[in-house]
């Protein structure tokens, strides 16, 4: 236990140094109502005995609004950890069934929720592996004590998890109270799903759109400031707030004073909201229970938290792997390898030997000039073969590969680069082959080797390109958290990397986090004043955050310059929108006429002009313009479409350069292999 805690401790410090950034809620998966309760499921629910093989955590916050029937909405959050969920994935669809029963203290069922979710694994698998699924819904209960029983079932494998959440629903006119403290989760880690029926009030679970969804099993990291939302009624005007950390047996280990940084007072029976910052001290890493207390007032219900104490390395992926293990039961051993238990270490050693041998042969083949595709094919075949044989050894295989690679790079860090890039290609191959668990391992190995390469004096520019290449793949697959982390690392290594900056800014822009996008693009535009794309994206986002004068100046400059047509088209369009917002219709029409004359191949400019003429009372002129519209003949699509795509033009350039750099270092890899062979023979 202590060992695993140390590993966790080592990993957790890679978390962002600030409180979690706001996340916009984008419910990606749709739930559907289930017809009825099947016999075995009903039995599981009635036992009320927590357990099961699916890693699930849940949170019920009983402070929803009162309905016409006098009962109160109890918003519910169910988290299903991705790696555990997909560990027995076997087809393009992963089905999940979620049941929640609201029960009174006397065992009476007050309400229930039964929802099915079908996950399109090729589309969502990678994003779910990066975190998991968060489902939000609601049941209703009368005031008083009771519980919500949450059962999550994988109907294809019959794995399940049952959680029993004690709940006390406060009356609207009751005295002072505090609800569960809410900790937000890092953005981008979760794929969101929402109850199929419109359930209306999910507050206070959805604190607000900018804040995101809370965590059922929050993570607290020593040395960091953690913001917690405290919701309650009858709170003092100037409350003194304390975070209490207790062991699982109830012994208080820390009382941490908080700093109230914001308060939202809501009229009626709705709770007030306090934003409270806590400076987290060092305590031993582990699993604790946390409450928040207001001096002279009530204390919140307990919430289980994971606390990270001291010592850390920068490996967020490892952190999440550990969290998965701590936050839920380990997935059961797959039925395909029952004999593994009997053979124990012997079997592991054999797998490791096979992994090492196969890996070293693949690397030798790469160094001798074999085409990368061929080497990747071979390595993928070895890894999937071993995985089929012993799925529980996947992490061990990764460790063997890391050891081998690091040994080769010991004498000359340059030898690491071709290996790191080999793993990046392997990641793509495995991902496309839907071997998501192995793909994730390949990606982590590649990123770790690149980090090692950079730390040991390798070219920062090349290392940044390698991280960018990996991050871009992740972004395109919808994995935001890990990709942003890699892009951030790439920018630290090479602050001038236009491609990394554009990708990072575009990912924030897609989240609606325009200030963050501006911050990144501003720096990028200073480093690359010649880049039209950077300047265009900066101007678009400047306008969004209210710096319209700056945006206007930038658009005007772009219109006047001989830049790419797609950039000038958007500059015209956005400039026209600014004119229209300022009620300068005549200027807008004149500008559009100029745009249509200069850029006759851009139909969207013609549509915009036709509409303006229509509004000005010239429908016939508008018709004439639209009658001349020709369907697009193919090509890259409209300028606005191009803007909405990931900025791969700069990425392609980085990847070409990276491939060349890798080739140049094959000689170093050969030498490293020769040295290793010589050392082995001695």
């Amino acid at each position: 236990m202590r060992g695993s805690r140390l590993v966790l401790a080592a990993a957790l410090c890679a978390l962002p140094l600030t409180a979690q950034e706001p996340a916009r809620l984008d419910f990606a998966l749709r739930a559907r109502p289930l017809r009825g309760l099947q016999g075995p499921i009903a039995t599981l629910l009635t036992t009320g005995k927590e357990g099961g093989g699916l890693p699930v955590a849940a949170l019920a916050v009983p402070a929803g609004s009162r309905g016409a029937d006098g009962r109160f909405a109890v918003p519910l959050l169910v988290e299903i950890e991705g790696s555990g969920l997909l560990s027995q994935w076997h087809s393009d669809s992963q089905r999940i069934e979620i049941y929640a029963y609201a029960m009174g203290a006397d065992g009476a069922v007050h309400d229930f929720l039964a929802q099915g979710i079908t996950v399109n694994v090729p589309q969502w698998g990678e994003a779910i592996l990066d975190g998991g699924i968060k489902f939000v819904g609601s049941v209703s209960m009368p005031a008083g004590a009771g519980s919500v029983r949450v059962l999550v079932v994988d109907p294809d494998t019959l794995r399940y998890s049952l959680r029993v959440l004690p709940v006390t629903v406060p009356t609207a006119d009751g005295g002072p109270l505090l609800l569960h403290p809410l900790f937000s989760d890092p953005r981008g880690r979760w794929v969101l799903a929402r109850q199929a029926q419109e359930v209306g009030d999910l507050s206070p679970l959805l604190v607000d759109e900018g804040w995101g969804l809370p965590a059922s099993l929050p993570l607290l990291t020593a040395g960091r400031t953690r913001r917690i939302e405290v919701l309650g009624r009858g709170l003092p005007a100037d409350p003194s707030v304390t975070l209490r950390i207790r062991t699982e047996f109830g012994k208080t280990v820390q009382e941490i004073p908080g700093r109230v940084v914001g308060r939202t007072r809501i009229s009626g029976s709705a709770p007030d909201r306090l934003d409270v910052d806590f400076e987290l001290p060092k305590i031993e890493t582990g699993r604790y229970r946390a409450t928040v207390a207001v001096q002279g007032g009530p204390e919140t219900p307990e919430l289980t938290v994971l606390y990270l104490g001291e010592g850390a390395t920068a490996d967020q992926d490892l952190l999440w792997a550990q969290l998965r293990r701590l936050s839920g039961e380990a997935p059961p051993a797959p039925a395909a390898v029952p004999e593994a238990q009997g053979r124990g270490r012997k079997r592991n050693a054999e797998i490791e030997r096979m992994a090492r041998q196969g890996y070293e042969e693949a690397v030798r083949s790469l160094a001798s000039g074999s085409p990368v595709e061929q080497v990747v094919e071979r390595l993928a075949s070895i890894e999937t073969g071993l995985y089929r044989q012993a799925p529980q050894q996947a992490d061990a295989v990764r460790e063997v590969e890391m050891e081998s690679a690091k040994r080769l790079g010991k004498g000359d860090a340059e030898a690491l680069l071709p290996i790191a890039l080999l793993h990046a290609e392997l990641y793509r191959k495995l991902r496309d082959g839907r071997e998501y668990l192995l793909a994730e391992n390949a990606r982590r190995t590649s990123a770790d080797l690149v980090a090692d390469y950079a730390e040991r004096g390798g070219s920062a520019t090349v290392a940044a390109q390698a991280l960018l290449s990996l991050a871009a793949d992740l972004l395109v697959s919808g994995v935001q958290g890990a990709s942003r982390e890699l892009l951030g690392r790439a920018l630290k290594l090479d602050g001038r990397s236009e491609a990394a900056g554009l990708f990072l800014a575009a990912s924030y822009e897609r989240d609606g986090d325009y200030p963050k996008a501006v911050e990144i693009l501003d720096g990028l535009a200073r480093a690359h004043p010649e880049s039209f794309e950077t300047r265009l994206r900066l101007a678009v986002n400047l306008d969004r955050i209210g710096r319209t004068a700056d945006a206007r100046q930038a658009f005007q400059k772009m219109i006047a310059e001989p830049g790419p047509e797609w950039v000038r088209t958007i500059a015209y369009q956005e400039m026209v929108r600014i004119h229209l917002r300022d009620k300068r219709t005549t200027e807008a029409v004149a500008l559009l006429r100029q745009a249509v004359a200069r850029l006759p191949g851009q139909p969207q400019l013609a549509v915009q002009l036709a509409y303006l003429l229509d509004r000005q009372g010239s429908p016939a002129d508008a018709r004439q313009i639209l009658d001349r519209l020709s369907p697009a003949a193919g090509g890259p699509g409209s300028p606005r479409h191009r803007y909405g795509q990931w900025p791969t033009a700069s990425l392609d350039e980085a990847r070409r350069s990276l491939a060349q750099q890798s080739l140049l270092r094959l000689a170093a890899l050969s030498r490293a292999l020769d040295s290793a062979a010589a050392a082995g023979s001695r």
Partner: protein, 305 residues
């Protein structure tokens, strides 16, 4: 000026298949008349076209109006089938949608005319108005689904296509409804729709197996996308059309059949508004069926121009 271009003669359409009622000839007669298309909701199996003008009551901003023209049944149609040809329709999906459209087109009457427009973030294809299935659908097979989605821009173009055409004007949009790349906002399109007297039907694709509907893009945040969707729903309802939700593209044909049947079972009532302010204000229109003979669905109102 208050209202619209309409041929009174068209509202009393003779039986189908008579050559002289082809609607490609625009007769420039301007009438101070507004018309509303009424879909009558009745129980299953009940006759739907058995009412007369006297059975309807039209209210313009709450004021009763006199029904001046009345027609029912197979009234001439000018329709634009506006089909999503974006990357989400790749593979067999676009062909399946075209097959569904074929079933629709093969059932239009000689006096009806249809244009097919295929769009993504750009206009990919449009045909002239015709009622010949081959003319309308052959070009679709030559188009490869690609790109993003600019519903607003292309819905505006479709509404303008119908401007000045005769008969009931209808746009049938096939899309998941998520606009990413339009230059125009849906409020702009609503402005045009309110002036067009065009019925808008939206066959809304909600395909669960396709997973995420992208609601956050480089051009709009989630709130912006939700607002666009709400505005589209409002534009459809205001026009007197409706949303037909289908779970997969294989249902397009059946949805189009239902819409066509509904179009065949409509009444068209004309009236000359008693209060003509010509001030660009919005007039709420309500149509009631007397004596509880069903409910009427019609456009929400009109702009007093």
């Amino acid at each position: 000026m208050l209202s619209t271009l309409l041929l009174a003669a068209l509202l009393q359409v003779p039986p189908p298949a008579e050559e002289e009622i082809h609607v490609d000839e625009v007769i420039n007669v301007e009438l101070q008349q507004l018309y509303v298309t009424v879909t009558r909701g009745v129980g299953a199996g009940a006759p739907v076209l058995d009412l007369t003008a006297a059975d309807f009551e039209i209210l313009d901003d709450g004021e009763p109006q006199t029904v001046s023209t009345f027609a029912r049944g197979d009234l001439a149609l000018s329709a634009v089938l506006l089909l999503d040809g974006s990357a989400s329709m790749e593979g067999d999906r676009l062909r399946t949608a075209a097959d569904g459209a074929k079933a629709f087109i093969s059932r239009v009457l000689p006096q009806d005319e249809v244009s097919v427009m295929l769009f993504s973030d750009e206009l990919l294809m449009r045909t002239p108005f015709s009622n010949d299935a081959a003319t309308l659908l052959a070009p679709v097979s030559g188009v490869k689904a690609r790109g993003g989605s600019a519903i607003n821009d292309n819905l505006y173009v479709a509404l303008k296509e119908l401007e000045g055409r005769l008969g009931r004007k209808v746009v049938i949009l096939l899309s998941d409804g998520v606009d990413i790349e339009s230059t125009l906002g849906m409020d702009d399109v609503r402005w045009a729709a309110r002036r067009s007297q065009t019925l808008i039907y939206w066959i809304r694709l909600q395909d669960e197996t396709r997973g995420r509907i992208e609601r956050s893009s480089s051009w709009r945040d989630r709130r912006g996308h939700d607002e666009q969707l709400s505005q589209l729903e409002a534009a459809v309802a205001e026009s007197g059309g409706r949303v037909e939700v289908i779970p997969d593209v294989g249902q397009v044909g059946a949805a189009l059949q239902r819409i066509l049947r509904e179009l065949r079972e409509q009444y068209v009532l004309g009236f000359q508004p008693a209060k003509d302010r010509n001030d660009g204000s919005w007039h709420k229109v309500e149509v009631r069926v007397r004596d509880g003979q069903g409910r009427a669905r019609t456009r929400d109102g009109y702009v007093d121009r």
